[in-house]
């Protein structure tokens, strides 16, 4: 009779969410479909120079980097919100949330489990979207790949912390699809501005050194730490 600890129970819940997603396919698939459709739309609408050089006609390299980084993160932002809105769907359809609230696991564990599942979803979307961007817009990430992955992870942590918390708030109201973006978008602006700016630098040839020196990098870390911890702390008051 050895009872699993906090971490093991949390992972158990995340595994449960992933297993359900594997069978229901109603969260990740819409996120991917949305990202794909938006990216195609962007590829069609951007005035490109044609042939192999898919750079935007008449724009400097830094402008192209800015535009593409912005598009990348806006696509992630909305794809994420589409998926996160469904975070508590499986818990609510058959009242499993009540059963879960009575289990000997702290609410913060429940939050971490949900946030971890959302993190995996958004990472999968990015694993799909980043190569797609490289392919369609002939991005040259090259040496900037490792720092870029770090930026992506840091943005995701803040995004998922706030997104999961506000998804739990939205799930308690009558119109969760509507209220989630209304609450989450203003709060998420710093992470996404930071993400877009750092990504643009890296696309334009930045390195680890320039990344760490950028003021945005500090913003990203501050956001992740402050809002991540607060979100985990206040979550217990949302579910009651």
């Amino acid at each position: 009779m050895n009872e699993p600890g906090f971490v093991a129970k949390t992972l158990l819940l995340t595994r449960k969410d992933l297993r359900i997603e594997l069978r229901a396919r109603d969260t990740l698939v819409p996120m991917l479909a949305f990202s794909f459709a938006v990216t195609l739309l962007l590829a069609f609408t951007l005035p490109t120079t044609g042939d192999n050089e898919r750079a935007i006609a008449g724009a400097s390299a830094t402008t192209v980097a800015d535009v593409l980084a912005g598009f990348f993160w806006v696509t992630i932002l909305f794809a994420g919100l589409i998926g996160f809105a469904r975070t508590f769907e499986t818990e609510q359809t058959e009242g499993a949330i009540d059963a879960l609230l009575l289990v000997p696991l702290d609410r913060s564990g429940m939050f971490l489990a949900k946030a971890l599942a959302n993190l995996i979803f958004i990472l999968l979307v990015e694993a799909f979207l980043l190569p797609l961007f490289v392919l369609l817009f002939t991005l040259d990430v090259g040496s900037g790949l490792a720092p870029l992955l770090l930026v992506i992870l840091l943005v995701d942590i803040g995004f998922v912390a706030v997104g999961t918390l506000f998804a739990s708030v939205a799930a308690q109201t009558s119109s969760r699809e509507l209220i989630l973006p209304v609450l989450a978008l203003p709060a998420l602006i710093p992470v996404f501005i930071a993400g877009a700016d750092l990504t643009s630098d890296l696309i334009a040839g930045g390195t680890f050194g320039t990344l760490v020196e950028a003021g945005w990098f500090g913003v990203l870390i501050a956001f992740d730490v402050i809002l991540g911890i607060t979100a985990a702390l206040v979550f217990e008051f949302v579910l009651e």
Partner: protein, 251 residues
């Protein structure tokens, strides 16, 4: 003659209101008839007087959102209704004064900067603040159960306020146009504004703060009265079944 706490409270409220409005009238006199115009830079002249409204509005807005933050924490800790009423009222007033900031700012910026809006640190963070608390009020309007609405809103109130400094720092890396002192002429550094101007400014600041306190107290009072109406209506619909209810089951 003994006065009940209720009448004493409503008298204090009236007193606060008179003080706020009186001081506001006084500050108008100072602003328009005592303070001189700082007219030796763009945005000076008569236009500059807008700052006596703009800055106190911003101050009240931040004060209001700080009240939301503190009341939200207190509400989550205690579940006492009064904290929720305070948070709700402060959020409404905060949104109102943020709107005033966002209206008066561009009116000044258009002639001074030649543009209505700039994606500058203060402007952007103020706009985000406004959006955050509009969302807060929208959320409150969606849930009818007061306890639930209070809890959810408190969570948003806490996260929203913690976001403010981060937003502020994050937008500082844009080139900022916004004057950083309390006034374009910055009375603490240059001698552009002297005693009369400072008098007008601080009178306005105190008047706005009192106005905030009065509005908040009034809003909380209205909230209490609404609760009382709800309670009476429930009481009226409730079947009257005497004082005793239920008999303990024992086995």
């Amino acid at each position: 003659m003994a006065t009940s706490p209720t009448t004493r409270r409503s008298r204090n409220l009236k007193l606060l209101g008179s003080a706020a409005w009186g001081l506001l009238a006084l500050s108008l006199i100072f602003i328009f008839f005592v303070a001189r115009e700082a007219d030796d830079y763009p945005g000076g002249g008569p236009l500059q007087r807008i700052f006596y409204f703009h800055v106190p509005s911003a101050w009240v807005a931040y004060l209001a959102f700080a009240v939301v933050f503190i009341s939200s924490i207190a509400y989550l800790r205690t579940s006492e209704r009064r904290w929720d009423l305070l948070a709700h009222g402060a959020a409404e007033i905060g949104v109102l004064f943020t709107s005033l900031v966002l209206i008066t700012g561009p009116i000044w910026a258009r002639p001074a900067w030649g543009t209505w809006w700039q994606w500058d640190a203060r402007l952007t963070s103020t706009l985000i603040l406004w959006l955050t608390y509009l969302g807060y009020l929208f959320l409150r309007s969606l849930t009818r159960d007061p306890a639930r609405s209070g809890r959810l809103a408190a969570v948003v109130g806490i996260i929203g306020f913690l976001d403010v400094p981060i937003v502020h720092f994050s937008v500082r890396w844009w080139r900022t146009l916004h004057p950083s002192g309390p006034t374009p002429a910055d009375p603490t550094r240059s001698s552009g504004l002297g005693g009369p101007e400072l008098l007008a400014f601080f009178t306005a600041l105190v008047a706005f703060t009192l106005l905030f306190a009065w509005l908040l107290a009034t809003r909380v009072r209205i909230g209490r009265l609404e609760d009382e109406v709800d309670r009476l209506e429930i009481e009226a619909e409730r079947p009257d079944r005497g004082p005793a209810s239920g008999i303990p089951v024992s086995t």
